[in-house]
C-alpha cells in the first residue's frame, strides 16, 4: 500500500545569513563560523487516507517547522513531501491547493483589513472553485457549517472572539476543499470551554469530509482525543511513532514515558498527594545537541552506549517505531499512568 501523504526523510536546517563582512573576511582567509540549526532531522511520516496523525513535542522540537514543510510553505533542505504520489513542491513553490493549514493564533492568521467573508472567498475564487457571482452563497454555506451566523460575513476579524476567529480560519481552510488539513496548535490559545467546542467541530467536519489530518500540538490530552496514530518529536527527530492508544499505554521511548508522567492529571482524591516525576534538566539547545542519543543527558535509563551511538528509528513492535536502544525492555516494563479519570 502506498501512503496517501508521505513525508520522506525530510530535513530542514536554518543557517544565519552570511553577511557581506563575513564573506570578505572569508575571502581574506579568516575562518568564519556558521552554525546552522537542524530544526528537523531526517523525518519520515506516512498518513493513510482519512487518518489523523498527532505530532507532539515540547517547544523547539521542530514540530511546527515540520508542519510548515509538510504544508509546502517552507521548502525542506533535503527530502520530499508527496500527496497522492505527486510532489507538493515544484521548483520550490507549493504546487497544490489540496493541503490547507489552520494555525494557532487566529489573531495573526486573519487579515485585519479584510471582511471575513472576503477572506474565506479569496482562495476558492482565485483558484476557480467557485465563481465570483456565487461566492457569497458559498461563503454562507461554509459559515453555517462551522457554526457561525452567515450574516457575520461582512464583519472584520476584530469583531470576533478567539473561538469565532478559529471557526473562520477553519472555514477558510476547508472552503478550498483540501484533502489534507494541517492543524498547528489549533486550540492552544483558547479557553477550555471554547476549546471543547472547536474540538467537537473538528471531529464532526473530519468525519463528514473524510479529511486526512496532521494535528500538531503540545497538549497530550488533546492529541490523545483526536488522533489515530501519533509521533513524538525531540530535538528535530521523531523518537517514537505508533497507534495513539498503544503509545499511551506502553510508551517505547523513555522520553515519551517521561512526558506522559509530567502531565498534571485531574486529582479527585482530597487527601492524595500527587507525586510529580519531573524529567531532570532542560531541553538542550538545538544549536549544539548532545552526542549520541539526544535524550541521553536527561534519560533515567541511560547506558554508556547511548552517549556514543545515536539510535535509529526502528520497528520495535508491529506498526510501532521507536528510536531507543532499549525499547523492548521498556515495553516489557509496561504501562504509563496517563489517565484522566474514569467516569
Amino acid at each position: 500500500m502506498t501512503a496517501f501523504f508521505r513525508i520522506d526523510r525530510v530535513s530542514r536546517a536554518f543557517a544565519p545569513e552570511i553577511t557581506l563582512g563575513d564573506r570578505i573576511a572569508a575571502k581574506l582567509g579568516a575562518r568564519v563560523e556558521t552554525r546552522s540549526l537542524q530544526a528537523v532531522n531526517a523525518v519520515t511520516l506516512e498518513l493513510a487516507k482519512g487518518e489523523t496523525l498527532g505530532l507532539v513535542g515540547e517547544s523547539g522540537c521542530g514540530k511546527s517547522t515540520l508542519g510548515r514543510v509538510a504544508a509546502g510553505i517552507l521548502p525542506p533542505s533535503s527530502g520530499t513531501v508527496a500527496l497522492d504520489g505527486k510532489p507538493v513542491l515544484l521548483n520550490g513553490r507549493k504546487a497544490t491547493t489540496r493541503i490547507q493549514t489552520v494555525f494557532q493564533d487566529p489573531f495573526a492568521s486573519l487579515d485585519p483589513r479584510m471582511k471575513v467573508g472576503e477572506t474565506v472567498a479569496e482562495g476558492p475564487v482565485a483558484h476557480g472553485l467557485v465563481s465570483q457571482a456565487k461566492a457569497g452563497e458559498y461563503v454562507s454555506e461554509w459559515f453555517a457549517r462551522v457554526g457561525l451566523d452567515p450574516a457575520f460575513a461582512g464583519r472584520y476579524p476584530h469583531q470576533f472572539s478567539g473561538g469565532q476567529r478559529q471557526r473562520i480560519a477553519i472555514a477558510r481552510a476547508l472552503a478550498m476543499k483540501p484533502d489534507l488539513l494541517i492543524c498547528d496548535e489549533p486550540v492552544a490559545s483558547l479557553d477550555v470551554s471554547i476549546q471543547a467546542q472547536i474540538l467537537n467541530l473538528f471531529l464532526h467536519l473530519r468525519r463528514e469530509l473524510n479529511l486526512t489530518c496532521l494535528f500538531i500540538s503540545h497538549d497530550l490530552s488533546v492529541v490523545r482525543h483526536v488522533s489515530d496514530r501519533m509521533a513524538v518529536m525531540y530535538l528535530g527527530r521523531v523518537v517514537e511513532q505508533g497507534e495513539t492508544a498503544q503509545l499511551f499505554e506502553t510508551p517505547a521511548h523513555p522520553y515519551t514515558r517521561a512526558l506522559l508522567a509530567s502531565v498534571p492529571k485531574l486529582t479527585l482524591d482530597d487527601e492524595a498527594i500527587v507525586h510529580f516525576e519531573p524529567i531532570e534538566g532542560e531541553i538542550p539547545s538545538p544549536l549544539s545537541p548532545p552526542p549520541g542519543c539526544h535524550f541521553s543527558p536527561r534519560c533515567a535509563f541511560v547506558q554508556e552506549r547511548c552517549r556514543r551511538e545515536a539510535p535509529e528509528l526502528r520497528e520495535v513492535q508491529e506498526r510501532r517505531f521507536a528510536a531507543c536502544h532499549f525499547s523492548e525492555s521498556l515495553i516489557e516494563q509496561g504501562s504509563s499512568d496517563f489517565k484522566g479519570f474514569d467516569r
Partner: protein
C-alpha cells in the same frame, strides 16, 4: 491553623467610557498558613484582577470599591500607597505568567535581587548576596554563585521563572500570589516547578494562591479550589470534592470540556456560547444564558449557599440528594 489572609466581599471596579466594569464582585475566602488555594476560571473571569487587588496593584481607572483584605490581621483596603508598598514584596508577593516581562533585561539577576532585598531591609552587601544565592539555590538554579551575575536573556524560560520565584521568596512572605506561573512553560519544566513550589510551601509555611485556567495543574497542587465566572466565585470547596461532585453547572461544564476525561474521538460535553462581556451581563445569574438547568428564577442573582465546608452560588445546584430542588420550587 491560623488564617494569614482573609478576604471579605472584595469588589474591584473599572470606570470606563462604556460603563462600570465590576471585574471582582463579592469575592470572599480565607487562606491558612502553608495552604495552597487554587483559583480557576477562564479569560475574563476576574481571577487575575482578584490577584492584583490583593497586592493593591490595580491601576486607575480600576479601584477597589468595597470589601476587606486582612493580611496577618492588618486591613489593606484603604491603606495609603506608601504603606502598601512597605508590605508588597515583603509580606505578600506575586509571580506572573511571563518572566520575560517581570525581569528587567538591562540588569543582572544579582542587581535585581539586591534591589528587591534593600527595598525592605538594610543589610551589608555581603549578607545580602549570601541571602540571594541561598534563595536561588532553593529554587533549583544550578551553580547560583556564578549564575547570579548573568542577565535574564541568558536563562531559559523555566530558569527565568525560577528566578522570579526566588525574588518573590527573598523576604519569606506570608502569602505568594502566583498568576498562571507555569502556563508559558513546557510540561517537563512545569512538572519541575510544581514539584518545587509545593515543597517550598510545605517547608517555609508560605501560603499560596495559585491562579490558573488549567484544572489539572491546580488539582494536583491545591487542596482547596475557588471557581470564578464573570467576577464572581460560583463555587468553593475541597479540590477533589468539587471536581468529583460539582454543585455549579459551570464547574461541571469546565470538567466535562476536558479531553483528558473523554473517550478518544467522542464528542466532548461542551458549554454552549461564550463568556459574557462585563458590560452586558445578564440581570441575574451570569451563567444562566449558557446553562442547561436555567429556569425563570435564574433572572435573580442566587445567594451563596453553604454546607459541609463548601460553598456555591446557584438556584439549582447539582448533585444534592433529597427532593428534586426544581420540583420543590414549583
Amino acid at each position: 491553623m491560623t488564617a494569614v489572609l482573609e478576604v471579605r466581599d472584595l469588589r474591584t471596579e473599572f470606570n470606563t467610557r462604556a460603563g462600570v466594569i465590576r471585574a471582582v464582585d463579592d469575592v470572599s475566602f480565607t487562606l491558612k498558613r502553608g495552604e495552597i488555594l487554587g483559583l480557576v476560571g477562564e479569560s475574563g473571569s476576574g481571577k487575575s484582577v482578584t490577584g492584583f487587588s490583593l497586592l493593591g496593584l490595580v491601576d486607575p481607572p480600576g479601584r477597589i470599591t468595597g470589601g476587606s483584605i486582612r493580611l496577618n490581621g492588618t486591613e489593606l483596603v484603604g491603606l495609603p500607597q506608601s504603606e502598601l508598598r512597605a508590605r508588597r514584596g515583603k509580606e505578600i508577593a506575586m509571580i506572573f505568567q511571563d518572566p520575560i516581562a517581570t525581569l528587567n533585561p538591562l540588569l543582572t539577576i544579582r542587581k535585581q535581587m539586591m534591589m528587591a532585598l534593600e527595598a525592605h531591609q538594610h543589610m551589608t552587601t555581603k549578607a545580602a548576596e549570601t541571602r540571594c544565592i541561598e534563595v536561588l539555590q532553593r529554587v533549583g538554579i544550578p551553580d547560583p554563585a556564578a549564575r547570579i551575575k548573568a542577565y535574564p536573556h541568558e536563562f531559559s524560560g523555566g530558569m527565568r521563572q525560577r528566578v522570579a520565584i526566588a525574588i518573590a521568596l527573598l523576604h519569606d512572605p506570608a502569602v505568594i500570589v502566583a498568576d498562571e506561573p507555569t502556563t508559558a512553560l513546557d510540561v517537563s519544566i512545569q512538572a519541575q516547578i510544581l514539584h518545587e513550589m509545593r515543597s517550598l510551601a510545605a517547608e517555609t509555611g508560605t501560603a499560596m494562591i495559585w491562579i490558573s485556567h488549567d484544572l489539572a495543574t491546580v488539582s494536583s497542587l491545591a487542596k482547596r479550589l475557588l471557581v470564578m465566572y464573570a467576577g464572581k466565585v460560583v463555587e468553593e470547596g475541597a479540590t477533589g470534592t468539587v471536581l468529583r461532585d460539582p454543585r455549579h453547572p459551570y464547574t461541571r461544564g469546565l470538567i466535562t470540556s476536558l479531553p483528558a476525561i473523554a473517550k478518544p474521538g467522542e464528542d466532548l460535553l461542551q458549554i454552549p456560547g461564550t463568556t459574557p462581556s462585563f458590560l452586558s451581563l445578564p440581570p441575574g445569574c451570569p451563567f444562566a444564558p449558557r446553562c442547561e438547568s436555567a429556569e425563570a428564577s435564574c433572572d435573580k442573582m442566587p445567594e451563596t449557599a453553604q454546607s459541609d465546608e463548601r460553598m456555591w452560588r446557584c438556584h439549582y445546584p447539582l448533585g444534592l440528594s433529597g427532593p428534586d430542588p426544581r420540583g420543590a420550587q414549583q
